[in-house]
Symmetry: C3
Subunit: 465 residues, 3 copies
């Protein structure tokens, strides 16, 4: 199916006309991508992408989780094993397997993102099938060598104005440095993601902290540890970072006294109990907020995922293999210590995400509709989808309005899906607005302003990009 110009618009005719007008004015706005997981070395090295399977299947956990759920082995999709054992290396075979099971993605956003990339990047309007798998493989493979398919050219083609990667606190940001030195005018900034030196439940926590303080040149005590954060944040900031990001199992925060916190640090450094690890993560969110009031980095919290739920997949293939499962996530009592300390502080911008949609109307919109420091991130991960985005707006707008949200971010490591995802978000937001205009809750001139804000201005402003 060729991409329909009215895709994702309201199916009611009046609202569809309004949505068209709104979308028409924002469709080509530059892309602000303030949070994602593309590889900075792509932009630094600007090399051609390898084969279609390496582009579309192997690195996309949305794709291979679905295939795996229907009995296809990860080995057969070329997903690398932890033990280095043999997996499929023939891109064409992997592609055929994907094509054969492409029907599984019906009704999912992956289907729409894929189709968008196929058509807008490769000019392919056909639906992928077992029959045309080889032909499409050849067509894509043939195009990949073209200079216009290099990361920097795509950056321009996609209309990206700024993009943030997500980087470990101990990362040397060499790729970012290389980009800066290269004189290329794309804007690729890092984000400070210190989970590995904050989550004391990890087996490698102590060694991570040791490397971290060594890198920063600080002592291995609590004050030195905090100082190391300050030093590394400054290091990130110098390379363009405007934000930190925190992926915790829950949204708990704490605000211990200096001596309690210091004692806690000593305990978790030795041998962290589950409770202490949780408390330490909680304490560190508040410390990060405190540092944000000092250095101005925007703070993001992405809580509530049970990571690596599938023990045998984790053992065999490692992290991020599509087995992260959301769980019930509370924010009201959890965020109170941090909010008591910094919730009214105009220097802090704290952007909250959730995988638990029950918190949208019950907790997040009421919190963001009151605390000056809080903003709501867009529908995230499994909810970064047409229905998910619609629910986000329906469940948050009436209490938090539009201006306590921060527009859209794509949160992806699938480069080609970036324009597809922004296209989807703009369409869904314009459709939501069109319905408000169609039933006379909003005037159309206002809807135009909001559409522009959601597509461009709010992300730029909230993330200081």
């Amino acid at each position: 199916m060729a991409l329909h110009p009215d895709r994702l618009f309201p199916i009611e005719s009046d609202a569809r006309l309004i949505a068209r007008r709104l979308f028409d004015a924002v469709e080509r706005l530059p892309i602000i991508s303030p949070h994602g997981h593309t590889d900075p070395s792509w932009y630094a090295k600007d090399e051609a992408f390898p084969d279609p399977a390496s582009l579309f299947v192997k690195p996309d956990h949305y794709i291979f989780r679905m295939l795996y759920s229907q009995g296809i082995q990860l080995e057969d999709l070329g997903v690398p094993r932890q033990d280095g054992g043999p997996v499929e290396t023939d891109g064409r075979k992997i592609w055929r397997l994907f094509a054969k099971h492409f029907y599984l993605f019906r009704g999912t956003p992956s289907r729409l993102w894929f189709q968008h990339a196929l058509e807008t990047v490769f000019g392919i309007e056909e639906r992928l099938t077992e029959k045309n798998a080889d032909a499409l493989y050849d067509k894509i493979a043939g195009r990949l060598a073209d200079p216009s398919m290099r990361p920097r050219a795509l950056y321009k083609q996609f209309g990206i104005e700024a993009i943030s990667t997500t980087d470990a606190a101990t990362d040397d940001l060499a790729a970012h440095d290389a980009i800066l030195k290269s004189g290329w005018d794309g804007r690729v900034v890092p984000a400070y993601r210190p989970d590995a030196v904050i989550d004391a439940s990890r087996p490698d926590f102590r060694s991570n902290v040791e490397s971290f303080t060594a890198l920063a040149g600080t002592k291995l005590d609590y004050q030195g540890y905090l100082e190391a954060h300050r030093i590394r944040r400054a290091y990130f900031k110098k390379r363009g970072a405007t934000s930190s990001d925190h992926g915790h199992p829950n949204a708990r925060t704490a605000n211990l006294s200096a001596s309690e916190a210091s004692a806690l640090f000593e305990r978790v450094l030795k041998n962290a109990s589950v409770a202490d690890a949780d408390l330490f993560r909680a304490q560190m969110l508040t410390e990060m907020a405190r540092m944000s009031t000092e250095d101005g980095l925007v703070m993001q919290i992405h809580p509530g995922s049970f990571r690596n739920h599938n023990a045998s997949v984790f053992e065999r293939f490692g992290m991020d293999k599509g087995a992260d499962i959301p769980r019930s996530t509370g924010y009201v009592e959890e965020l109170k210590p941090l909010l008591d300390a910094f919730g009214n502080d105009s220097r802090l911008t704290l952007i909250l995400f959730t995988l638990d949609e029950t918190s949208y109307s019950r907790e997040l919109a009421p919190l963001a509709g009151h605390y000056p420091a809080l903003r709501l991130g867009p529908a995230w991960w499994f909810h970064d989808s047409p229905e998910g985005m619609r629910r986000f707006r329906e469940l948050t707008t009436e209490t938090a309005g539009f201006y306590n949200t921060v527009g859209f971010n794509d949160d992806t490591r699938a480069y080609l899906s970036i324009p597809a995802r922004h296209d989807m978000a703009r369409r869904v937001d314009c459709s939501y607005l069109a319905r408000l205009v169609a039933d006379h809750r909003l005037d159309e001139d206002e809807a135009h302003e909001i559409a522009h804000d959601l597509a461009y201005r709010l992300a730029k402003q909230a993330y200081k990009l």
Copy 2:
């Protein structure tokens, strides 16, 4: 924007026509307002309202919470400080600030309520902007002196048939007495809200209970305390009260033996632990239900709000400043003790509210669709909004039907928003019904009956007004 006659109606053309017909028949029905927070002295004294800011901004926590969330100081909105320190007193300045940020309310019910009041009460069809702020201020201010703008005249203009205030158990109800004595034919009744003498977690609990038993002339022991409730309920009932109301942090109930309850009372009177305070509130819900079976007061429970979440706003400005945040609220195990005692008792009507929409289909509709004593209150607080009301119907009707709900109540202290809120509720309910008719789940003659029931009859009947 002038109010559109089709506002909030379905945007599908067939359903819109049906909604028009349904709404046309209920639009002008009298307003039953069985639960709210208007000030009874308004009706007693019947004085003119002061300036526009005092009418629309200062007292409306929906308005100033949103402004505060975007960095506007409460002082600049004229919200009184606890310490009596200086705040803005110039109504015009406050109004300008509101006008400048009026765009923040796009997509919120506040926007629609405000617009409705502006147009229906003041004849203003323009949208408030920074530019027209002064002109609208003058127009409203000029009208406020008019006799037709006094509370009693508005009561008539709004088509109110009966309205309930909400009053502390120790309130002397002097304003209600004054209204009754005045011979005015409006019906303003009190509701018994004893939270201050039931919630032992309050610092002033003991002194509240002392005043309470002193007022009732009973002993300061558990029997005397219960007797004081009976006496005060009778006092309220004599002044027209038909209901009690209970705003607890959760929906927990208990049914202790007399001796356990008495011992618990003695403990919480001295120094209440968190657990004991919770248990005492739980016990008292069951006692209130018991008294309802005796005196016929309809019982309401409004649970699940974390009150005064923002410590510094609470310290500076006190209660009810837009920082009450809902939290996850369970009903199944929580209500069982009360329901085991009185759930099948035909003398009890217990109206349940929630701020946790997840309970609509999972717990509340199944409970209300079974227990004879239970009814569901309308979508509450943050959910008293077009999408919120739609979700309420979509999530409760299939299990509890329409007749285990009690129509609409406005729950507001913003007098001018009362007709706006009932207008909104009637439109949303008619739209929901119109869709059921349009896809042939319901006949239109039935929808007409239900629309009338939801707009008028069910509230009147359930609240015995």
Copy 3:
């Protein structure tokens, strides 16, 4: 109202046309009913159903729970008392009471199911009212004696291809044997439901287990108990069973060592603490999964109901009287022990149900969209309704797709509602698909395939029928 051919279809004209085309192709597909509660003796004896009240009111807890919630006594509806005391026996009187209160069902699926049965089975197009109650009673009663109204004839008329009953582990399945011996070509298979010998919180648990092991001829120890399950599962399988079913208060699983499990068995056999009973149920889910990998029975979990919530109704009328209330149900940590053991095992099909819709998008779709052994059962019980089914698709499809769901099952003991329920499910699924086509998320040829899969193929395949 006569059944409208477009009932439950989208009210947007384009989508309605698409829905008509999709539904037209699946409307008359055979019914696969892989999970329900019809009485196997109906098919064995093939006797006429008694009067209309016995058919529509007395056995249908959807019906009498709603009537009870509005103050009608269960005695007056002919629901048998536990003590054998007098209840209404005059079917006509019961029918009149039902007719008088038929308006209570407006907006509920019961209304639509009833109307469907009335029209398609009895040719009655009128709406039941107090006025026509007697006439309709006579018309239905007159038809019940007709041979075409016997269970086997209806089975054919309804187009059932296979139907599963649900049977206690100790059931001798005599009715199933009788059906098999009779040579009738209908397919009525049992399902293995061992709750009574797994739930140690029941007062009769020990005696149940004693009968169970005695019946199987095994020892009364843990190994004997497990062996009894294997023996009884084989007994069921021989009579056509393809599945087991487990109705637990939560979804907790455990995977204890053999010695721990054995010790636990000994403890719960003597006197089960609440914690031990919970752990034993958890352990047994994993044991059932293990046996499924051996004997191939598909495993269903129906968790999360607080059974018999109303103490006095339970005491007076026993189980299943409309007082089962859902509660918050978690799956992420709860299922992990079982999934660690068998979640990647291609021999297991584990079908999950929920009464807690918050788990659809947060937990169930992410789990089923990853684990090969998992599939999602359709919207269940209170959510087996037009809005409930719509929400199920909207909340699961984007993450789990269509092919990790298993089509529809009716889960009913109301025989006449079976075709009505499948008709409803097919209409709602076709409407969901039609909207995806109308806004260009899906091509219509794909929607046709999916509609067929959801109506027929997926249930047949997942349940191995």
